[in-house]
Subunit: 147 residues, 4 copies
């Protein structure tokens, strides 16, 4: 059973903006890359190549707290873990760290869907191998600031 993953990455030039730091939208891509690396580590794929429309995991919610900027060529680690496993949903939490410092923390919720013949998204239960191979992490949940 898999419940967490550590994904390493370097911040690239095109991911920065004119303020000289990584653009805040880019962190969602980092989190997603870490999620997919986590799933690969468990032998799972968010899309099956044979039939890409069989199922997918559109996101239904995301939140991020940004604490310190990431800059070009910073090497960082995304520590991602499965926070909640629902019947159709997977909720991940993660921290993005740059050395000893937490650059950002967040949560991301995905829901398992299939594409209908009319090209609509329909919620379906987690695929069997997802349900069998993934379990909730024992980590204490992140608590987010209220604003």
């Amino acid at each position: 059973m898999a419940f967490e993953h550590r994904y390493r990455r370097m911040a690239q030039f095109a991911e920065t903006d004119l303020a000289g730091i990584v653009h805040f939208s880019q962190y969602l891509r980092y989190a997603e890359e870490a999620e997919h690396a986590f799933l690969r580590s468990a032998g799972l794929r968010v899309h099956s190549r044979a039939d890409e429309s069989a199922y997918g995991f559109p996101r239904i919610g995301v939140r991020f707290e940004y604490r310190r900027p990431l800059r070009f060529e910073d090497e960082f680690e995304v520590h991602i873990w499965l926070h909640r496993k629902g019947s159709s949903t997977l909720t991940y939490q993660f921290t993005i760290s740059n050395g000893d410092e937490v650059a950002a923390r967040g949560e991301m919720q995905a829901i398992c869907c299939r594409r209908t013949a009319e090209n609509k998204l329909e919620v379906i239960p987690l695929p069997k191998d997802f349900a069998e191979k993934l379990e909730e992490a024992p980590h204490p949940p992140l608590v987010f600031r209220e604003r």
Copy 2:
């Protein structure tokens, strides 16, 4: 005094992913584009061109709820409003609508910073023209799901 803006946009091809819908990270860019259009409508700029490092608004928090996918060539509207004006922070809330349907809702908090000589970000009070030209919207605040 300005407190809200409506920003119209079409979803572009490169903004979609292999699931056939707009990638979830792209919504943060839509929200930011709407924020900047709002500030322009009030005669404000997030970066002064003469001295780009004078101040900026890095984000310290963001949350999004996704309800319906956006697809290539969908025309949508971002309705953004100033939810809270702090001494250094601006908190925006927004809905992204596609016709009569809400595709997403969210909140984004930015903090006013200047870049120091050592290239660090230092929190500063809102620039005078931001403080004078912006006010909190009278709209009822969005209430987000707890997961």
Copy 3:
């Protein structure tokens, strides 16, 4: 018969990089947005919504010359025209102008494909409505620098 289009756009914050200018990869997206606006102006769509895999236009070549940087909030125009209409290919040329100045010029070639049952791309002739509604522009062709 349609052969050209003018597409207006503002450079957005997230499209810049730490050098303070629009990232060079972003210009390809501007060109593609202009191409799709051109096709829409002729009543054509690069993907049919009913059956998205029916045909598509993957790119087989692109070239760009960059002359002046675009910056955040610059308003620019992409002037795109159909340079060559082949049996399966469409070759576009374009200039990106910021006021009176040419910021970039380029060429982009797309080839009409359908996705086979094995998820391969197979070259097919231009759809009938593309062949009927589009014609080559009478403009003198752009001449690119040799390096």
Copy 4:
């Protein structure tokens, strides 16, 4: 003296589009990532962190030929080499390969600039360490299709 580099990468979900393949603009980012990895391998940085505006390498030209699509989770290699070293310019050529197959080939030309006090870009000679540590590759030049 350094003249080439091999950079490995996996195609990420957000880099694909609704056609199910990596978006053509993304290849420019792959090439740039490989260029920066090449420079790092030679102990060089395209931006000095102490003074980010000291110099930079805006691009003045790029061309790409796309031969086969890259798909989500494809592992590929960018082989990049220095094709021409001018007094102010660096011209790179590269191939992007997926296993034994060439997915794309291209060329990218950058010019060394500093940012003036008026925030203009001014062409300057290559920095001394770039001139000393880089040399042209002995590889036969890529020949591009004429269209």
